[in-house]
Symmetry: C2
Subunit: 141 residues, 2 copies
């Protein structure tokens, strides 16, 4: 386990050194209300272990956190009355990660909430898809 | 387990009834290249069981899929050379879900890829955060 840096805001929340709206806690994670919500009821699910990104999580903790997501999603729908929600987990500054302690966003969604995607999907050219697929299969061996 | 509807494109991929670039498969899930990628190497992680949304997944399958995410994320970074990635999982049409079979997007990110967020965060007013926190805690009992 990596040392918990003294400047990690999520470690401080987990250790109750600074206040937060903790709505759930178990052996592996806490869930809190995001103080800068994209919608009311926007949750952060934060593993207790201090690691920077998803790829640094152990299989065991990743499984424990994965197990929590449906439960917390059901609770979010029940509490907020939202029509749906997004799970978003950002790795790296380039991906929008702000706090360097792995966490999952659960974001309630409603019709007309203006949170629609503006990401533009593309297409693979010629053999690029086959080559990319092969590269993944080789890398997984 | 819900019946697998005959018109589910992901069930057809899992059953090899239609082709796809499958880069990984185990007892619980497959991972494929998205045919409409936001970036080369954009993956979909698809549980084999046909359920519509995350909230419909069993704890066991949710844990199994959660366990896969770091492994596939490491592979994505290795293969694509991306500087980071997003995990995105959409529940409901209002949240951008297109295929009604639960799945996770893993989206490679690079500097200047123009996939930046335009979502606008807000703030809770007065007692709204405390009240929302209490509502979650009550709903989780």
């Amino acid at each position: 386990m990596a040392a918990q840096p003294s400047d990690c805001i999520f470690c401080k929340i987990i250790q109750r050194q600074i206040p937060a709206s903790i709505i759930f806690e178990d052996h592996c994670a806490v869930a809190i209300l995001d103080v800068n919500p994209l919608a009311s009821g926007h949750l952060l699910v934060i593993p207790k272990v201090h690691v920077n990104q998803l790829v640094d999580l152990s299989d065991s903790v990743a499984a424990d956190v994965g197990r929590l997501l449906p439960k917390l999603g059901r609770t979010l729908l029940k509490v907020t009355g939202a029509a749906g929600f997004n799970v978003l987990q950002n790795n790296g500054e380039v991906a929008g990660q702000v706090v360097n302690h792995v966490h999952f966003h659960l974001i309630p969604r409603r019709e007309g909430d203006s949170l629609g995607y503006r990401w533009q999907a593309g297409l693979y050219e010629d053999d690029q898809m086959r080559d990319t697929c092969e590269s993944f299969k080789q890398a997984l061996i």
